[in-house]
Symmetry: C3
Subunit: 304 residues, 3 copies
């Protein structure tokens, strides 16, 4: 089976990742947990620099990448929001200027992490960059590292991803993290269910890719109520657009159902879920750190 | 006498610090002066990460903490102003969301430093965080590390804090640094004077705590003129709200009076004071770096 | 010949740099190329801290300095735009407050890099700072490190600066980088041509300095068309204000003409120039990193 060599790879989409590739990231992530916790020191990426280009502001994702780099002994530069970048204030995010920006920043850093309001901007950046580019969210398109950390969380909590019933709930076709997750999880042998309001179901193009990955059709339910789909689910991945999940809703779920959410949460996950055993979304944050440390280590060549 | 074990302690208020605890910080600060000056290298906090959550922008305090961490070999992440944080732009600073933020950021860092517009937000953060939290100013409530650096400056300049006549001038009840300073300095055997416009005097609740600490009543003067109170003072701590202190005013003061100010200054300290021997407020900035290095070292366990 | 000792030197203007001084920077820059590329590690500036005070936002210059410091093992603090600084939001950039800011930040760092909207603010900062100050652009006055990286690029591409015909095109008298470049390049034995619209020619004061440096008069052409001046040029340095340079224009140029631009570019350099051998402006970015690493190394004393 094909095995991706992660060295110098861009991470733009999950569509081109095979199960093996992802499992490799998760294996490395497992080994890095003591470093992520600050209990062990690492200089694996000493002298390396990560450049954060956040055209859309972020807390979770940016801090997660910065912490990942710092835990491994590396350094960070970049901008946290458009206002800090001169180019942006001069009307940056047009295609013709992003390439100039990339051809500048690539000279300063070993890897670029970009978040942008525009679909496709990460891929465009990768086309111009001589260093690897990680997509930290491009418009409504993809957010591949979020998908990886979701899957890593499932593996960490459930030991195995294969064989599970996994439900994605919310306005799916406008959620970059739901799209990346669907492309990634469909590489596994899972029972996959999509629940969304009709208007927000995945389009034909995305479904075709997912079906091809799965080898069969996912179940598509259009409704704004979570209830009918979660009764026998092992995992639900929730984003905005459905009737809120709350502790009462979850009483009808399997005891070991886990609830994933990329955060920050809106009303779709009630706060009384936090104290149930189903809530893993805050543990996901730590898993995200481990996942990004693993990616950086693999891409920058500090893991063989 | 009770001796605080600083390891993993939150720093929310000065009210729960004993003289011994503070003196321990100052002793450590003394030993770190060559590292703070950049003359000696330290890797005491290598691999450790500080997370700056500045919901209110700052120069002095944020840079001071970052420099403290860097001088000790550690790293920093976080945000410098609300605009850089996605959560904030979605209406963050409500109680229900601060806890989510804390439960995210605690996964990335070893210690959190938070500045906020809202009284009590640092304490709330500490209640949720599994890592230590330092209050870098919460609304009009407290700014404990500023108080510690003020006291460290007095000790450094005067050798002893006990026995001094110390005057706090300005709009005291709306100043977080004046409140924290009063709670801290009243643990010493000092002659304490509060001068403020009547409307801005410390309230009964604060005065009760201060009296309990002192073991006697502080002198309370309500006036907007500094003059009557500084004649025999050893230390004056000035913030906004009184008639400006200037070189002429200080001619009537003791030769070795020192003037403290948290900066940035407004009109309350005239620029002609800078060239008098009374001005120590710029030296305070360096002392602040040493004080914060000491706190970080103690809390993160690199000092026994 | 006078040889500048770079240790602890401010970098405010190119006017006081001799050819020898600049060549020393370029020699050091040459040796640091493998470190700048991330192929070799360095801890030359471990424990040192650079403070970025960017009152005007920037991408290139700020990230370049941060990367330079990180590649050499040092750390960075500061602010990336005025909004992140408390002082600024309270009406900072008045002369009377900049000195206060400098007397604070100098306590936290080993070197200050300042960009400001106001002419002369870097020099003012240097007057107050006990640590070295680097001017990263002060209003329309100077941008000396940009000039140094331009010259280093010429030396790197052409081996020698002496003997070349060098043309500066654009609105020269309002361009800080053109002014700094003119002061610097005129220390070499070059044939120097200034082309600008009449209204934007260098003033008498600048011309006097340049003539004194050169030992003869530069050629001054007032026009908004680049064409007449580039036919036999070896180097053209382009900024806004002239008819765009494009691939067709350059067909009439010497084969080995190089085009310099400080970036970000406006319409003055058409995108079809990028694929010609004349375009060196993206390579300049990497040279800028090397130049700034050299400056930091020399000033902070890690190169003997």
């Amino acid at each position: 089976m094909r095995q991706l060599n992660w060295i110098n790879q861009d991470v733009i989409s999950t569509i081109n990742m095979e199960k093996n590739d992802m499992e490799q990231v998760f294996d490395v992530a497992d080994t890095l947990r003591p470093v992520a916790e600050g209990r062990e020191k690492s200089r694996a990426l000493e002298g390396k620099i990560l450049g954060n280009l956040f055209y859309e502001s972020s807390t979770r994702t940016r801090l997660s990448f910065e912490s990942a780099m710092l835990r491994l002994g590396g350094g960070c530069t970049g901008f946290a929001d458009p206002a800090s970048s001169r180019a942006v204030t001069k009307g940056f995010e047009q295609k013709e200027l992003l390439d100039d920006m990339i051809r500048v920043v690539e000279k300063y850093v070993d890897i670029i992490v970009i978040r942008s309001l525009h679909d496709g901007s990460a891929e465009l950046s990768a086309n111009y960059a001589s260093v690897p580019v990680i997509n930290a969210g491009d418009g409504r398109n993809e957010h591949p590292t979020q998908a990886l950390l979701d899957l890593y969380t499932i593996r960490h909590e459930k030991k195995n991803i294969d064989g599970l019933k996994i439900v994605q709930l919310g306005c799916l076709n406008v959620s970059r993290s739901q799209r990346s997750f669907a492309f990634a999880v469909s590489k596994y042998d899972v029972d996959l269910v999509f629940l969304s309001p009709k208007k927000y179901a995945f389009g034909r193009d995305a479904l075709n890719k997912i079906e091809k990955n799965l080898g069969h059709k996912p179940t598509v339910v259009t409704s704004s109520k979570a209830l009918p789909t979660i009764a026998d689910a092992d995992v639900i991945r929730v984003t905005f657009g459905i009737q809120p999940i709350n502790a009462r809703t979850l009483q009808k779920a399997k005891n070991d159902l886990i609830v994933l959410h990329p955060l920050p949460r809106g009303p779709e996950v009630a706060r009384d879920v936090d104290s149930t055993p189903h809530a893993v979304y805050f543990r996901e944050v730590f898993n995200g750190l481990c996942t990004r440390m693993a990616l950086l280590s693999l891409i920058l060549g500090s893991v063989k």
